[in-house]
Subunit: 141 residues, 2 copies
DNA sequence: TATTGTTATACTCTATAACTATA
DNA sequence: TATAGTTATAGAGTATAACAATA
C-alpha cells in the first residue's frame, strides 16, 4: 500500500484541485452567458429538477434561508422562477421553475460538458474504476 | 466506444459534481476554522508557495486586481501577510506570507486531506489510471 | 410555542472606472 | 504614454438577529 503522501498521490490530489477549479470556472462562465450569477444558476438547476420550499433550497445550498429570498427574488424578476403557495401549509412558498426557467436550466446543463467528452473516450472498465474511486472518496471522509 | 451520455458516464459526471461540492465545502470549512474567508485562504495558500506582486495574485485568482487590495489588507491586518517594496520596480508591491501566515497555510493544507486518505488506499495501477484520466479531462476541453 | 419566509444589518467578494506614483 | 496599485462605487452573496403569518 503506497503512502499517503507519495508523489503519485500528491500528483492526483493536485489534479483534483485543477478539476475543481476548472469545473467552477466553466460553471460561472456558463451562468454569466445567461446573465446569471453562480448562486442563481445553482438554484435554478435545483428547481428545474423539482419545485422546492424556500427552506429546502437553503438546505441544499448549505446556506441560511434568508439568503434565498434575494436569489429567488432576482430569478423571479427575470421570469425564470415563480413563488407558489403550498396548499398544505400556508407558511410555505414553493419556488417553481417557469417554462423559460426550464429552458435556461437545460442550456446550462448542456454547457457543462467538459467532463463528459473525455469520459466518453474511456473504456467501460476505466470508467468503472473511476466511478468506484470517486464513490470511495466521497464515502471515506 | 460508449456514448457520451450512457448511464455510467452520467453517473461519473454526477460523482465529479459531488466531489467538487465536497471539495469546496471542506475548503470553506477549513478556512472558517481559521477565521478566514475562502478567498483569503486561497491568496494565503498562493503566497505560502512564493511571494507575488499584487497583479500576479489577481491573475492566479482570475479576478480584477482591485479586489486583491482588500483581501491582502485583511490578511495583513491579521499579521499573516506583509507588503514589501520591489527594489527592481517601485510601482510593484510584493505580497509575502509571514511566519504566522506560513503556519496557517500549512494547517489549511493538512485540513484538506479528504482526497488523500482514500487515494492512498488505491493501488499504484489504479492511481495511475486516475491520474491519466484527470490529465485527459483537463487537456481535452 | 415552534416554524416559514422575510426584513434589516453588516461584512466580504466582485467588476468597473478613476486616480497616484512610478516607468 | 503605459503600468502597478489603490480608491470609490455599486451589486451580489453571506450570516445574524428580529419580525409577521401560520402551524
Amino acid at each position: 500500500m503506497p503512502s499517503r503522501t507519495d508523489p503519485l498521490t500528491l500528483e492526483v490530489v493536485e489534479l483534483i484541485g485543477a478539476v475543481v477549479a476548472r469545473y467552477h470556472e466553466e460553471y460561472e462562465e456558463a451562468a454569466a452567458s445567461h446573465q446569471l450569477t453562480g448562486a442563481q444558476a445553482r438554484v435554478l438547476a435545483l428547481l428545474a429538477f423539482d419545485p422546492l420550499p424556500m427552506r429546502r433550497i437553503a438546505q441544499k445550498l448549505k446556506c441560511e434561508p434568508s439568503n434565498i429570498t434575494g436569489i429567488v427574488d432576482r430569478l423571479e424578476g427575470r421570469g425564470l422562477v415563480e413563488r407558489h403557495p403550498d396548499p398544505a401549509d400556508r407558511r410555505v412558498k414553493l419556488a417553481v421553475a417557469t417554462e423559460a426557467g426550464m429552458q435556461t436550466a437545460g442550456q446550462l446543463r448542456d454547457a457543462l460538458d467538459f467532463a463528459r467528452e473525455p469520459l466518453a473516450g474511456l473504456s467501460t472498465a476505466e470508467r468503472t474504476v473511476l466511478r468506484d474511486l470517486l464513490q470511495r472518496m466521497l464515502g471515506a471522509a
